[in-house]
Amino acid sequence: MINYIKSELYRILRSKGSYMFILICAGLLISSNVILAIVGHTEANFPYNNTGFAFSMFYSDLPIVFFLCISVASIIFGNEYSNHTMKNSISYGISRAHIYFGKLIVEMIYAVIAFMAIAGIYIGSAYLLLENAKTGDLDLLIRACVVALPIFLFALATTNCFLFIIEGTGGALTSILGVMLAFPLVSNFLGMKFEFFQNLAKLLPWNLISNMGFDNEKYQLILPWAGTTGYANYWIYGIAQMLLFVLIGYVVFCKKEIK
């Protein structure tokens, strides 16, 4: 497993895509800070050229990170099926377990590094370009990221699962969006009529992340469950659903023939 992970890291370090992803995301975020700073300099009463607003933009947009996890997993997966490269590993006695879990671990390593790099660049640029607001905003941003972390891991694991079991990228992406977005939205609608779906919808990762609220005055997260239960439930439901898709993907991949 360690050798597989090392080889994947070797490949990622030599792939333009892995650098481009970080550069594009960081570039877009920096540009938003640059715009805030420019407008702040030209308009005296502009209220948003401060780090507090910049950070609130970041944590309010965490659902976007959920979707970026799909891109991360796709970049790291490396078109194994269309390149037909996985057959080499299988033929040389690398077990399907090592390939499946090795990829997942590498996706998670890359995602954490990319997220930290992008967030670090964004926070750094905010401090450099904008007026400094209270420290509570950064605390709230960090807490929101910690609560959302299992949901992001779920997004990575589910994407990994479908990329392994469905060979066409189009089919895999459709399935991923179906499970991660369409199913929660349909459950929300059905939840208006049926209590079962109402309860189910509450637990689905997309709803968990999009239902996160923020009290910018008290610098507190507003979650569907009060207090520490809210934090714990995000982790429990996020990790449980992640494990479910990890397992489904692994079982199906073990029976899959490679071309």
């Binding site: 050798n3 490949r11 037909h84 057959k87 040389y92 006695g93 690398i94 023939e257």
Partner: protein
Amino acid sequence: MREVILSTKNLTKKYNNTFAVNNINMEVKQGEIYGLVGKNGAGKTTLLRLVSGQAFATEGEVALFDTATPKGLNDGRKRIGSIIETPSFYNNMTAEQNLEYYRIQRGIPGKSCVTEALTEVGLTHAGKKKYKSFSLGMKQRLGLALALMNKPELLLLDEPINGLDPFGIVEIRNLLLRLNQEKNITILISSHILSELSNLVTYYGFIDKGKLVKQISTEELSKECNRYVELKVDKVEAMTALLETKLGCTSYQVTPDHTIRIFEYLDQTSVISQLAVNHGIGLNSIMTKEINLENYFIQLVGGESND
């Protein structure tokens, strides 16, 4: 007795209701170059995919280095080098980077094996060229380099000379012969280009419609592929009796279509025709013929065109 490196027992692979591989029992012994001969779609690639673990058998089993357990097979595959179907690598990486990626993955110590493998297949000139810009011949060479990188005990090669120019074919053939003779690497090679196999293999397996129809050593095959006099007469039994009693000829065979093949008197067909005429046997035709590998194969599997 030489060790059996690869064996299959009642190996069967079915896709829907079609047998891609049908009840194949074969053995590849250490030091052999086993040529798997068959038309396109005969089941050669499927058989190699089953051996390499890319596909799963419907029935039967594969054993590598005398073990058939899943873990044993995976361990065995670490001692194998293979090219199955077309070689496949990461498009945006160079030859060296692709090999280095698999070297790390397979835990092969020392980076020198990458350079050695590239040198062995004549691909050192590829430099910084990305795999996506490689010619088919270069891709085949890189596939072979990957197969050789771990100093394998068994090579599984599925049509490895596809896409190579005539010089490349000779080079690769000589390389395979050298690996077999100097390093005692066992080779299982599939091809439908029979002339190429005839210069290389020591044992043949003929496969058709998923079935292994015949296994034969090169020595046995060369006996069967001799020149012979083909004789068509109206009284086959009387003619064979005459051949034995009058000419002392024992090396002949009668085919199912009542043709006599005589493996002696190859340059004295007039003696045979005279014998027939003198004893009142109607002589329909007499000619000298030769069975080459192509004819042998066509006779074995029938003369249908490739599908």
